[in-house]
Symmetry: D3
Subunit: 294 residues, 6 copies
């Protein structure tokens, strides 16, 4: 697993700016402005208080410099790296007021995104422990869903990649996923796929969610790019994978439905290509991170 | 516990609008636009899939009407109410396309905020089971922190109230909280409070974080409005409460530091007025909510 | 060809609002405010002054109602329909001042988008005249590029669909297109595609631009989803199509490079699936539209 | 003709930022991020592929630095200068990823604005070929209209100046132009001008559109600053100019109505001061510009 | 003097929205939400507590409906009308919470703009008392400057018109005003005007600020549209008016420099066309307005 | 009185940017762009033309650098300092065009905020002249209200501190103020305070407005943090202070109602802790400031 490409500030600075405004309000940091002299300078370490996978470090640290460009950042870790509890991720130096006033904004972002990465890593590792760490045959990838925090999708998708996962759709507009409601409206998988093909461009992939092997057969007959095998038993999954492998073209197979680190290895062992997991974005606990004044 | 006041759309519509734009991207909902006829109308139920406390229902449902004002909303629950798994929270009716296209945006917001409310309710109930449900002597309140999701502070603070908790500071500018770093810079509690008093207006309360009983005594001597008793043992908390009750003016006492539903009752039994809990906003799992087509 | 799905106002109202602000400035419409009494009411027809294909009609007409919700719109045409010179596209009724003051904003948007649709229609028709109007074997589709007006991409892509064309990528993030610069950096098609495969999710299609038949062979060997045949002669295109049809999986073939209504039919006759045309968005003349007071 | 004053970034950066966001979407440049190593650096030339007049060069190039401030820009041309096909307009150096990822945004803006400038230059040159290049008696100026792209008015007006043209109104609020609809509502030119004079400030000029010589006489009698001679024949224009030159004060005369490079010289020869041309902004083809990696 | 045209909500709603957000902050109106039951409904009168000229009434009242569209507005006055102390300007009815929570935002806007209108009216009346109320020969108009509150220019310019004044430039871009610094840079009035003429469009008027009669002569020789007679004595003004009246074309004459209601009549009596007064926007006291619950 | 903490640019740059856009419009500074050569450089002094207290200097000067980062600022004064008429507050150096084009934006902001500070200083000094400059017993502080300019609240509150005043609530959400309307709805002070206590967090102070000594007694009985003594006579105020000093806890006493520099000293002499004054924000005349080219 290589680190994902860094995000451009253009994509996260508006969010960080809003978060700072949200915390500073109209009157700014009353406590720090009262207690800390304007001329005071200092140094503080951003530290992990628990073991985890780092994500969002540059975005989080941008809070200090958006508040005051005189604050200097000395990176000691990077997105996609593991951190042990107590490890220093970055050192920030400069005027003390903005360091203390931007602290919470920076930590809130870093804790949440690293929490997503750490949760992703947990499932990835559970699968690797079962099937070995090599990407390749038999090695299922973990993918996220659209169940992300409002306003943070791009960052949380990035955090999933930092955790060793891969990305599903970023939105409703970059791929087709025919879900049960669509199938019901169209009157079946075949008709739904036909309508989609008449509508979308040539660079749009088509995935179909199926609940049964019969629906799977309809999807395979329609020649889709991927099938989402929703809430199937391990036996059903294994059979579904067999059928998909015989299909031409061979679609990507994806399992979904309440997957946890405990159940993931056995699901991966069925041979599915992907496990999609919603809770790594919607319910991952934050990684405990802190700012320690030197 | 009465329901908190409803939020004005002015405060959440920009966020919901950004979340819709984030999901629809440039091309909109490829699948729904291809599969569902423009004239199709329908009805769907927003349901809780698990037992929990509801929060953010009007904000979440506004997604449907921001996308298409022809969608009608029929509320069956409300912020601050309990929901059982399977319970219908609202019925949405109208053109089917916007109902399906705004679904994920609405559910993401509702799931997260109801997750915060449900987590808060969990701790509140654990305390009530120990000390009885009546507010009053011996009944500690649960309060949140500033460890919230970037961009969602007002909504998550609201969700805490929906869960039966109370709010701490909304930001750095509406009250003073002298933390360890401030104390260190000032050279002691007394000097920090003196600087604060010279600086802030008459409607700003002052709280001081203390780690030891000696620091507590300094805070009591300074006559602060509240003391944050950080990471103290149960015995220390009990002694701190005793000392605070003897002080004039008598400050509010607040315990903090890794409080969970398990540890909360015994902490509450020490007599502290407040338990502040960070994980109810930064790490609460989302409540499972869904949209079922009728 | 059916009409494309209508766009949600959420996607175009911010643009229309900015356009109105841009025209009204700080002082509003000096002439209309001075000359037209506040109470004057009237009716005006939005008319096509030339033959063309309509696109952006609801977006354009929203200008009147964003300025004054009392203006009523009576639609007589729709996006994706043909209009003859002189045909009435809509009737607007109500207070006369906002009708006159929003006129230019509405017409600028309608003229530009209908110009894009009309240009697209021109190429589509030229091809149909050669190969017959039925979609199917031998019938190449016209697709657009990312050479769109800054700020108007979603609307111009919509206009291309209104003109009978199909959409290519909406941006850099919804599909992969390996261009000559990427190929050069990677040191060849095979390596570029290998890097891409290790990076992107399972719902992202991969297209490769090739200039020669040798590069085409490398792309076919890499098993890509589509090949962009750039600036090839008709003979080369025909040979490329033959080779692509023999490949497994069979990629979509797309011709590009200075395609005009004159050259399109012969290019289509080579059997390529798609003709991508930049000028239908970056250089299409506006359709002449006007507002006539009744 | 000297070059127009450069625009401040304050006026165009929001637009360029939106254009970058529009192209990068939520996931950024999938292809470049996958294929080009993070550390790769390079140099590329922005080149004109056809002969034309340059406009919007600093605005377009700002895309590279808004994406990554480490990209360096080496200007080789300037707004208002002519470029030959193949000429290098600027060299950009630095990290290769942002150079490739901002390429299309930069070129889209540069191509469109230079297209406007080149179209303007075409008409200006046609007139100069007839009447000589000296500004002065008998030399009509080319002016634009409000028929601009939504969101790009200030930039397109600037491009017209780069092309050797002059600017008409920037919006509805900086001058009065009484058009046929206003005249009809007021019941005549005289009454319309009277209402305007009672309404506007002393620094607002008043122009009246006239279709006939009778209306012209009414406008001259009203003492307006300028007359817009709409869709008049060459003979009518010549007579109108004669009447205007006899009036006190002598108004500026402006011809309008479907003016092309072919018809412009003869219209200019009638002695009108200005030719206003809509298509140089609403229908000018883009100048072909490209980015070549060195 | 007739009332100025009403402003479109498009021009003021963003400002009112920001003002509401500024007052409600993150937690909303703590007092009202706690004390007033959600179901409480009521009626309140917006009243003038002092005699004055009303401006900004629709903009101010929009605060109630932007907060809650259920609030109904019953207008009893209008922009440009006089109000006596105690007079009801509007009645607002509906849910009581939003009425109380939007009160201050509405009153702040109404008080400030009506203060500008009232100050303007004061100078206009002082002049009328001297020279009679008829517009015409000898009747100088009062105009404002660009010394307005940041963010409120369009509204304050509107308020000046409500007070019976007229508008000067709205910004740096709608007319030319050559001031002393420009003159110094150019090396004289003549050269400054020559540069301007070579630069600006035909619908831009040119005014020149002059401090002496010699500079005035240079401006008259340059044939400018208006002259700003800055800080001249009454005798100098009278002489300047005489010279300007003899010039061809005859420029508008404008006096400026510390003009007050006391000095205005005598300045007007010199025959100048305009008196420009900065303090009516930058230093006018607010009109006392209030909200009285019925 | 020490200077208030400087504001972060994050809090004022959006406002300054909007103010620049408001002044530059679409076409920029026509006069300066025409008259001043692009290469011209210069130096100008920002000067006070009258005696006053400075506020908003960094915010105002940011206008120059937001327009062109090449302009250099040399500060000669600071927020919270007194300036004599003629004193230089800052020197700006660099390209002359942006210095002249940002001049008015900078001066408008500086003049207004320094006007607020100067007005505040006036009342503070009047009180000090009566009771001596030492903070302490008998020395009332001057506080502002929420009667601020829409959009400028944070800056005007800062200006009040620069003038030696203190801040009241920044908005409806950072403290409780039970006003007459709330009291009426609740049916009395006691009930209103009871509702508030059941609603708000532990860091929110509660103030109650009272008009009579009977209401004061009810407020004292309710144990509120502060009482606002509205429109009381000097005798009533003195009696109110006596009663408040006997209360436990002893609330802060605040006088309000038409307080001027003339009446302030005697009101302060009654022993009230605070005098709240609306006109220092809503009606303070601007301080006369100017930009002089060197």
């Amino acid at each position: 697993m290589t680190a994902p490409p860094p995000l451009y500030p253009l994509l996260y600075e508006p969010l960080v700016r809003r978060a700072l405004e949200e915390d500073l309000g109209r009157a700014g940091d009353l406590t720090t402005d009262a207690v800390v002299p304007l001329a005071a300078r200092g140094e503080a370490r951003v530290v992990a208080r628990a073991d985890g996978r780092i994500a969002g470090l540059p975005a989080a640290l941008s809070a200090f410099r958006l508040l005051d460009p005189e604050v200097e950042i000395d990176l000691r870790s990077a997105d996609g790296r593991d951190a042990a509890g107590g490890e220093t991720l970055a050192v920030v130096r400069g005027p003390l007021r903005p360091i203390l006033s931007a602290e919470r904004t920076a930590l809130n972002l870093l804790g949440r995104l690293s929490g997503v990465a750490t949760a992703t890593r947990g499932i990835v590792r559970a699968i690797e422990a079962e099937v070995g760490p090599e990407a390749g045959a038999g090695r299922a990838r973990v993918v996220c869903t659209r169940k992300t925090t409002p306003g943070l999708r791009a960052l949380e998708k990035h955090a999933v990649r930092c955790g060793g996962g891969a990305n599903h759709r970023f939105g409703l507009d970059d791929a087709v996923l025919v879900k049960d409601n669509h199938r019901a409206v169209a009157g079946g998988v075949a008709e739904a796929v036909r309508r989609v093909r008449a509508h979308v461009g040539h660079l749009v992939k088509v995935e179909v969610e199926v609940d049964t092997l019969e629906e799977l057969d309809a999807a395979l007959a329609a020649g889709v790019d991927a099938v989402l095998l929703d809430n199937m038993s391990l036996d059903q999954l294994a059979e579904a994978v067999r059928r998909a492998r015989r299909a031409t073209p061979r679609p990507v197979t994806e399992a979904s439905g309440g997957i946890t680190p405990d159940t993931a290895p056995r699901i991966a062992a069925t041979g599915v290509d992907l496990l999609s997991v919603g809770w790594i974005t919607h319910s991952a606990p934050a990684l405990d991170v802190a700012l320690d004044l030197s």
